[in-house]
Amino acid sequence: MITKRLGQLILLLGCLIFTAGCWDQRLFKEAQLVLSGGTDLTDSGKISMTVSLPYVRKSEQGMGEESVQIISAHGNTPREARMNIDKKIPGNLDASKMKVVVLGKKVTEQKIYPVLDVFYRNPKSNLSALLAVAEGPAKAILSKDSADTPKVSDYLRNLLKSAETSSIIPTQNIQDVFSVMFDPGKDFMLPLLSLGNVDIENSINNIKGLAIFSGEQYTGEYLTPEQGVLFQLMDNNKGRRARLTKKISENRDPEILNYITIDVNTVNSRMDLKVSDNNEITVDLTTDLTVKAIEYPKDQLTNRKEFNKLNESLSKSFTQEADKIIQKLQEANSDALGIGRKIIAFHHDTWEALEWEETYPEITINTKVNVELVQRGIIH
């Protein structure tokens, strides 16, 4: 009797494992990984999605040849476009190892959240993927393979990561963008990718600058990489390295003597917000930089007078540059510095009384960049 019961119990447990088992597994070997993807808008207003699919063959010693396939498909929504891609390929499309997402210019001119919704809704999607804007269609960026790195996803990711390191673009992934996207007091900027050369043969993917967004939309304006670095400094957001080359004089010969290249050691940026009784807003943005000279052929840094003059001229030209950036941002109506955020926090009544989108371009923003040269290089 007991033996029989025991037998039944074991049979039951066995059945449990062998019948129910593994129903929700998703096997890695059956997945078709998507390492980078791009979204475009067709002329008829449909979504066109492009993905890069890596293929590797096994060889005797580990990994063999790699190849990348670029596939596009249309659909009314990104999800539908993705389903249509899935129809064209063997295996199940899986975006959980997505490295880079590129948005075509046309898509970004509309609100971008609807296009990105698919990433935020699926728990398996990779929220640490990097987001970038293409100067033209995203498909062109993804289809451009360089001879050395066949994987366009790796190429783009490394490109963006190194730009983060040199403070050209802020360190942000899809998740970070999401939290700023619906913040009324702050706007974001995305790296702008460009093929650079009109001649398609010699062109190569590069970072053209920072695309300025207002709300969820791309304004068409962008900061150059040099302006990008200065903006990160003003935003107290220095990457591992911030390096700038500046022209400090006009009349020296040869031309190279007119320039200095500096590395920023420390940055301290302060935002002073003044709100008058009639809700007039003035912002004083002071950025203190300590820098070291890493290239200055003219030298003469041992001369105290020359040294002070250099500090002054650097401060002056950086302040001018900063003014240009602020002007650009205000024209594009992009509050990338998060001034609105401060007003919400410290002057809430003012915030309630104002229509920020209309007020922001009108407010006064005074910038001041103070440069202090602290290291001259090892020999001098």
Binding site: I2, L6, Q25, L27, K29, L33, L35, G62, S96
Partner: protein, 506 residues
């Protein structure tokens, strides 16, 4: 559990061995020599190795078992002294090594079975026993399965007397209690129980005494038998007693208030009660300095987690959560598993079982053949199986690491336990991914918390958590910091030293 107990239920029948307990009563010694001889021969089923010798013109009879007794000792102790005596006057009391006098023939037979020689004198109802036991022992070599780099290289042997001698030499104390038990109703095996009277918990000693007396088996072949008869939870995969062949290990355990059980004929001592941690400590930890000891201890504990969870972890990742794979490893791993025909669980199980086959084949074979099996199994199968596309090479790496990690455990019993635990872990990982691993680990942890060894918590000092006893777990703090014994044994005297480094550095 009750179901299982009923299923395996014990049959009550104590009569089946009555005939063989026939030395319990007493038997008068006959004054006729031949009567005694024939009685002995009958009792011992007419053994061919029974040597009988009439001495002194048939006035004395010497009986001994030639296979048990040493011929030289018999000569020296009995025959030579007797030959010097007058035939009519046999004075046993005048001999150099006086024999013990007995009046019970059954007692004499018991002594005979120990290798003593029996001497009967015509006309007297008594016998004399002379200790002439032959001793054939191997030397107290270091046990091959518990080698240490530094420290004592002595090991127990198959003779319980020598084993206890090794302990007594280490603990010169009146406090060391030694108790003999006769276990095995037919084999009459000597079982020794050792403990420190003032340290060991009397409750444990009492429990052990009771359980040993309960053993009704007719043979005790090894401590493994005793272990199974007296352990608390037979259905647990975890060993609840520590097996060791090292006298220094036994000594330190005795000093922590634990009890050692030794069995005649086996070089293994059972230590009880023990905690899980005991299986991960080796004398090497204490022979070296504390930093090295702590480092090795951490490596060993890491190996425990690796051995139990690594294949399960990998299976869960490639079957459920491949977003865990680092970016740069995605494509290499993908390349290696893309063309594998079987699901990850089969891959893992096949490889684990293959390793077990190689191990099991190698254990009992002579060394040259064993090595060949290792090479054929490990290298050739490992390589060919990847080329054939049956198993991915990442899986080979995982399983090989696991196998090595499982052999890091100093105790063979615990190593087997760890290797058995791999299976439920892999199975649950393949069923439910990380959730499955979590469930399986939880069940194992719950079981560990619940498990007891002779009434002491097995998972101590983690559960119940005792902060100041963790100093001999993940790390091994300097000896002079360990002023107290672990309290899991309910030790009678907790302090084992005062300040030992009170001196001033000058």
């Amino acid at each position: 559990m009750k179901l299982l107990k009923k299923f395996l239920g014990k049959k009550e029948d104590n009569n089946y061995m009555k005939d063989y307990r026939n030395l319990e009563d007493t038997k008068q010694i006959s004054s006729k020599l031949d009567d005694n001889l024939s009685y002995i021969q009958q009792k011992l089923n007419h053994p061919s190795d029974l040597q009988k010798m009439y001495l002194k013109d048939g006035k004395a009879l010497l009986v001994y078992l030639e296979t048990l007794s040493d011929q030289d000792k018999v000569n020296e102790k009995v025959i030579l002294p007797l030959s010097k005596m007058d035939n009519n006057q046999i004075q046993i009391k005048n001999m150099e090594s006086t024999g013990k006098q007995h009046t019970d023939l059954h007692e004499g037979i018991k002594q005979l079975l120990k290798g003593h020689a029996l001497l009967f004198i015509k006309g007297t109802p008594e016998l004399y026993t002379f200790n002439a036991t032959a001793i054939h022992n191997r030397s107290v070599d270091e046990p091959a399965n518990e080698k240490v780099v530094r420290g004592s290289h002595e090991g127990f042997v198959e003779n319980i007397i020598i084993n206890i001698n090794l302990i007594r030499k280490r603990i010169e104390s009146t406090d060391l209690a030694v108790r003999y038990y006769k276990v095995g109703e037919r084999s009459n095996t000597n079982v020794g129980v050792l403990f420190m009277q003032s340290l060991a918990d009397p409750e444990v000693v009492k429990k052990l005494d009771e359980r040993l007396k309960w053993i009704t088996s007719d043979t005790i072949i090894s401590p493994g038998y005793v272990e199974e008869f007296i352990e608390d939870t037979p259905s647990s995969p975890f060993p609840q007693m520590l097996n060791t062949e090292r006298p220094d290990g036994v000594m330190s355990d005795l000093m922590e208030g634990r009890v050692a059980v030794m069995v005649e004929g086996s070089p293994t001592a059972l230590i009880l009660p023990v905690t899980l941690m005991a299986f991960y400590q080796t004398p090497d930890d204490y022979n070296g300095r504390w930093i090295a000891g702590s480092y090795l201890r951490m490596i060993r504990l890491l190996s425990f987690f690796l051995a139990v969870t690594l294949p399960a972890f990998y299976t869960a990742i490639i079957a459920f959560h491949f977003e865990f794979i680092p970016n740069d490893l995605v494509l290499p791993i993908k390349a290696s598993i893309d063309d594998i025909a079987y699901p990850p669980i089969l891959e893992a199980l096949v490889m684990v079982i293959t390793i077990e086959l190689i191990r099991e084949a190698g254990v009992r074979l002579p060394t040259p053949v064993g090595q060949t099996i290792g090479i054929v199994g490990g290298l050739i199968i490992g390589d060919a199986v990847v080329r054939a596309g049956l198993i991915s090479n990442v899986m080979i790496v995982i399983i090989a690491t696991t196998a090595i990690a499982s052999f890091v455990v100093p105790s063979n019993e615990m190593s087997t336990t760890v290797r058995i635990l791999i299976y439920p872990m892999i199975l649950s990982a393949a069923l439910l991914g990380f959730v499955g691993i979590t469930f399986a680990s939880m069940i194992i942890l719950i079981h560990l918390c619940k498990l007891e060894s002779f009434g002491t918590p097995y998972f101590s000092p983690w559960a119940p958590l005792k902060w100041n006893e963790l100093k001999d777990t993940f790390i091994r703090v300097p000896v002079w910091k360990m002023n107290q014994r672990p309290s899991d044994t309910q030790v009678e005297e907790l302090n084992r030293q005062r300040e030992s480094r009170g001196w001033k550095k000058t």
